[in-house]
């Protein structure tokens, strides 16, 4: 049934429909609505879960490491500083191979306190072994949380479902909220492959010497590869039931495009409009939306981008001393292909600044009108200070 819900509520509805057993979270703007909706559902009985109101994000994730190790489906949500505080346990979750799902609402990092959207928080966690899926709208958020449990539980890795602060977390849109039975047919009850159990005593996370640690890490790498391989199959099943799919990447007008814009999150929606308008004016422009970031879909990215003349990546994030993080990853994906197109990196919308159709239009024109990138990163709309 279609309902008009906030992005945060789309997350909460998915968590309810996924029949999560334990939720543990700590409030932080702009994630708070997710926590409040879930508190409400637990209080009114529409979700039969245990809600743990812990004293920090560090404890929120640590508690769920306990939960998931005891074989129960677990959920948390956070943003910015909260995710940064979880860092140690992010590594722990993937190392322990626990399929915890987290909604991560992109928020700029302090200091200067800033509660608005910026992707540096989640991208700074790219090496922690979490699968990362970036979402564009409320429907995608709901669907992705459900897919995240299927995917994570299949390969035994944690999954971060990432959404933009305010532009998505606090925006109301019509969202198809499916019936419980329909979701049940897609997402069966969690069957842990291992758990703490006095009847079958195992020790988790013991001392590991160099002669086997490397193999353990390699198995995580393989699980990531499996996730990349399996995601399309999970989407096939999802599509059969719900009639929707997203792809690891989505390519719009890319086949004959001279210039392809690469986007994530809500900037994609605005870019769709710009690209449609430019196409109507006869410009040979395409758009590639990146949804799956970890594991990085190298082959899909390459096949979409390789025949274009120029690539323009829009990054709402920055790695100081290097550049926009998506641009770096795209460059790395292309570098071994002979004759690959140059990659232009644009930094826009940092700390919640609007990325309007004008900004995206300018990015297109600058890319079109220059022979080669003027710099590794081009910061859009910087004021004189």
């Amino acid at each position: 049934m279609k309902r008009v819900v906030e992005g945060s509520q789309a997350v909460a509805e998915a968590v309810r429909l996924a029949r999560v057993g334990v939720i543990s979270a700590y409030p932080i703007t702009p994630q708070t609505h997710i926590v409040e909706f879930l508190s409400e559902y637990c209080a009114n009985g529409s979700l039969k879960a245990r809600f743990m109101r812990v004293e920090s994000e560090h404890s929120a994730l640590a508690a769920l490491i306990g939960t998931a190790s005891t074989g129960v489906r677990a959920f948390t949500a956070t943003s910015g500083q909260g995710l940064a505080l979880m860092h140690e346990l992010l590594h722990w979750t993937s190392g322990a191979r626990l399929p915890i799902v987290m909604a991560e609402v992109n928020r700029a990092l302090a200091p200067g306190w800033n509660i608005w959207v910026d992707q540096t928080d989640s991208l700074a966690q790219r090496d922690t072994g979490w699968i990362q899926l970036y979402c564009e709208n409320g429907q995608e958020v709901l669907d992705t949380v459900l897919q995240a449990y299927r995917l994570g539980e299949l390969v035994n890795l944690p999954v971060m479902v990432v959404l933009d602060a305010f532009f998505l977390s606090h925006t109301y849109e019509p969202v198809d909220v499916p019936e419980q039975e329909t979701v049940d047919s897609f997402l069966p009850p969690y069957e842990p492959k291992f758990q703490l159990d006095p009847k079958d005593p195992c020790a988790f996370g013991s001392l590991v010497t160099p002669n086997i640690y490397m193999e353990m890490r390699h198995s995580i790498a393989q699980a990531m590869d499996d996730a990349l391989r399996c995601f399309p199959y999970i989407e096939d099943e999802f599509e059969k039931i719900f009639d929707r799919r997203y792809g690891t990447v989505e390519a719009l007008y890319c086949d004959d495009a001279d210039i392809i814009l690469v986007t994530t999150g809500t900037i994609t929606s605005t870019s769709r409009q710009v690209v449609n308008e430019l196409r109507a004016e006869g410009e040979k422009v395409g758009l590639m939306k990146l949804k799956l970031f970890r594991p990085f879909p190298v082959h899909h990215v390459r096949s979409v981008l390789i025949s274009a003349k120029k690539i323009a990546v829009i990054d709402r994030n920055f790695s100081f001393g290097a550049g926009g993080i998506f641009a770096q990853e795209i460059r790395a994906a292309l570098c071994n292909e002979p004759g690959h197109p140059p990659v232009y990196g644009y930094i826009a919308g940092i700390g919640g600044r609007d990325v309007t159709t004008d900004v995206i239009g300018e990015i297109y024109r600058r890319t079109k009108n220059s022979e080669a990138p003027e710099a590794e990163s081009i910061w859009m709309g910087l004021q004189e200070v």
Binding site: P27, E36, S39, E40, C42, A43, E55, Q81, L85, A110
Partner: protein
């Protein structure tokens, strides 16, 4: 009645707290007591906003905004630097909310106090996470509604007794204070400033927005918290010497609860239960202070 607090202000008007904000009042009196040779460490809390957005600041003293869980640790570092610079005059003050003190910042606070760092840690207590929209903290009292304890899930756990937790560290000075008793507050802040080592002030600071009360009731509710024994005014020296600073009228608690939106769901039975808990805590405090019920 004339207030025995001087006129000098160290806070500009035009802060961005809500009308009737007890946290703003508490800061104003604290600064009057401590003067301007201080450095404030301000972990995330409502005050991160009240203090004003860049490039403004409502405080006339240096402020370092800091991460939510770091109030005790950042203060320790500032103090160490002052020591290295030979500065013996500047008082280091952490100003944190109840969430930043009782919950996420408790580890850093406990560490700093165990090391007996020479600073004043002030917790202004509005009994929930207000900055993020009224979520429960371990300071939220029994019986309260918050957005994470909604409907029938209202909080059925006791408020953590933070002063006793600090006293268990044998902290040189710990005291409670209240915005409705400014002279007592100012005296305690000055006393804290005169003592070397760690000091803890726990200030009751009403929050009209989060408690669902009219802004003009801010001070009245704060006074009632003392008069009902819900928030006794006392101090503890060296972790052993208890002094009760004010003998309250010991009004029944029900009036306090009935005035506040956050407690509207409570039944007479719930209120009786709460009265028992308050009586029990008061009796315990009297015993520690070597006093007897009046």
């Amino acid at each position: 009645m004339e207030l025995m607090v001087h006129d000098q202000e160290y806070m500009s008007s035009g802060h961005v707290g809500c009308p009737g904000c007890g946290a703003a009042i508490a800061m104003r009196f604290l600064l009057k007591a401590l003067g301007d040779k201080i450095i404030i460490i301000l972990p995330a809390c409502c005050w991160s906003v009240i203090a004003g957005p860049y490039p403004q600041s409502t405080l006339h003293v240096p402020v370092i905004h800091s991460a939510f869980e770091t109030g005790g640790a950042v203060a320790s570092g500032v103090k160490a630097a002052l020591d290295m610079k030979g500065d013996k005059e500047t008082t280091v003050v952490t100003w944190a909310g109840d969430g930043g003190t009782f919950d996420i910042g408790f580890q850093a606070l406990s560490g700093a106090v165990e090391r007996n760092e020479d600073f004043i840690y002030v917790c202004y207590d509005n009994e929930a996470y207000m900055n993020t929209g009224i979520q429960r903290s371990s300071s939220t009292p029994y019986g309260a509604w918050t957005t994470t304890t909604p409907g029938d899930e209202w909080k059925r756990l006791r408020k953590k007794n933070i002063v006793e937790a600090l006293v268990a560290h044998r902290i040189p000075y710990a005291a409670t204070a209240n915005i409705a008793f400014p002279e007592d507050l100012v005296r305690k802040a000055k006393k804290a400033q005169s003592i070397t080592g760690s000091k803890f002030l726990h200030i009751y600071a009403s929050c009209p927005t989060g408690w669902r009360i009219a802004s003009e009731l801010s001070i009245k509710i704060a006074r009632m918290a003392v008069q009902t024994n819900i928030f006794p005014l006392y101090e503890v020296e060296d972790g052993v010497k208890y002094t009760i600073n004010y003998r309250p009228k010991e009004y029944p608690v029900s009036e306090y609860f009935k005035l506040q939106g956050r407690f509207q769901h409570l039944t007479e039975e719930d209120l009786e239960h709460i009265q028992k808990m308050v009586d029990e805590d008061w009796a315990l405090l009297l015993r520690k202070a070597g006093e007897h019920p009046s």
